[in-house]
């Protein structure tokens, strides 16, 4: 029997072949994966995934709509860093002063910006247990069955967006960039906040609801722009 050395282990070739095949089969069933919460792309992906509806959840419309909602949430975060409108400070819009997207997600001064995402007493960026619980459940669904479906596509989209953002910033178009008026109110364009579209919630301050006719109700969320002239 011939042996070959592989990572410090002695394996027979037939055994190695079987191991490789088994590994391939296992990898073949892993249709979706999300990086660890202790990495920037993993933490950001958790937010994008947490904030949008999957099939069966309230306000699910379509795979396309959920993907667009993830992208617009990412645009909100990026705009809170790089597109603070004239007349506003970043702290007024984002609740923090930082160029770091993780800071923008978690907020500061006890005023968390995104429910379930925060900095703990040790200064670590963490998520609520239920965020991980839902993510685990979604991954379990996505990685079941014989072929990747919508759950896998949506999870991979969220992770892909987060990774791309970490590597190169925003790509593509912000659908709210050119918005200049909501009814009689002059606005800045871009979205600066979103809320789960339950009831008639409003984030307060100078935020202006982007109406459904302008695509402001997207993927189970309501998006908000800012008044051109702060109150």
């Amino acid at each position: 029997m011939r042996f070959t050395r592989f990572s410090g282990c002695k394996l027979s070739l037939p055994l190695l072949a079987a191991a490789v095949m088994a590994a391939t089969a296992e990898a073949g069933t892993l249709f979706a994966r999300v990086e660890g919460a202790d990495t920037m792309p993993g933490y950001l992906a958790r937010l994008l995934i947490n904030e949008v509806p999957f099939p069966g959840e309230r306000a699910y419309e379509s795979e396309t709509s959920t993907k667009e909602a993830m992208r617009e949430i990412l645009w909100v975060l990026d705009s809170r860093i790089h597109r603070i409108p004239k007349g506003y400070t970043q702290r007024q819009v984002a609740g923090v002063r930082s160029k770091n997207v993780i800071d923008v997600i978690t907020g500061g001064g006890g005023r968390r910006q995104c429910e379930g995402f925060y900095q703990n007493a040790a200064g670590q960026f963490v998520t609520d247990a239920r965020v991980e619980e839902r993510l685990d459940y979604l991954l379990k669904i996505a990685n079941s069955g014989e072929k990747p479906g919508r759950f896998a596509a949506l999870l991979n989209h969220g992770q892909g967006l987060a990774r791309a953002y970490a590597e190169g910033g925003m790509e593509g178009a912000d659908r709210f960039a050119s918005l200049r008026r909501v009814g009689p109110i002059l606005v800045t364009g871009h979205a600066y906040s979103w809320m789960t579209d339950v009831g008639t919630f409003h984030p307060g301050g100078n935020f202006v609801t982007i109406p459904p006719s302008d695509g402001g109700a997207l993927g189970g969320n309501r998006f908000f722009t800012l008044r051109k002239s702060p109150k």
């Binding site: 396309t64 910006q113 239920r130 459940y137 906040s193 579209d197 409003h202 609801t209 459904p212």
Partner: protein, 303 residues
Amino acid sequence: MNMRQPNLFVYSTVLAVLLAACRTAPPPGAASAPVPPPELLQSSYLFEVARHLYRWHLDESEVESVVGAKRSEFWVRGLHPELDPGDLSLMGEILMPQLNLSVRVKKADYAIEELGATVKSQDFKIIQVARGHVPARRPSSCVAVEVDFNEMRDYLFRTRNQQDYAGPALLERLREALRKQAAKERVVATNAAGVEQIIHLAPLSPVANETWVFWETGRKLLYFASDIDLANPAVWEHEALMVRIYDLDQQVVVSHEEAPGSNRFLTRDQVGRALFNCLVFGQRMTVMPSAASGSGVTQGANR
């Protein structure tokens, strides 16, 4: 158990009369506009939508703003967003110009291949309520439905205390969900294992797949919502996908102005409305953390 059942005939009769009072008008100059799903044009359905808004969204000033009107007007249209392949769901929108409110509704009908489950609603359910975006003129895509305002006002007044309770099966699923949650949170309110938990379940709406639960001992509000009918056992197999939890000690502000841009908080008014419906109209339940322990239900116990 549905406490409304003894009165269903009465309500059906009343609504049949109201239906006769209902008038529809085609959109001006829009003969080719798609006709909304007929269910959305029935006054019985529109009255239920109005009752849902009356209970969960409208405030005093909004009700006062329409007093004196002779007719209540609804502008109704079908919506046709691009859905996933094979998704046969129907969607529509109901605009209420006198209140400047718009309501989006959905009748789900699609499969989730990964779960081997079908998401199919029997009726249109509210998925979104928005304020302030109703155009001044009726869009050409909308059909106008007019109802007698006094009839609707009387209906809302008559049914303002009506309680649509969850059936025993749904109650048991809610109880189980609460047990799990209490275990996860280590029963923080009592800091003692095995202590009886008290919860209050708000009345259900026949036009929404959502409900609020006040977990008194946990000092939390739980919001259950789904595309699947809550009464469908399938929805409770996936409860991780349908609950949001608000900590009343941490997540309540008087105004969102206090934390602009954050999606974390409820206002005191929002919480007050949820608590009113849970405590005054709701079902009070006791839940023992252990599934083997007993539990009880009292309906409208706090009235």
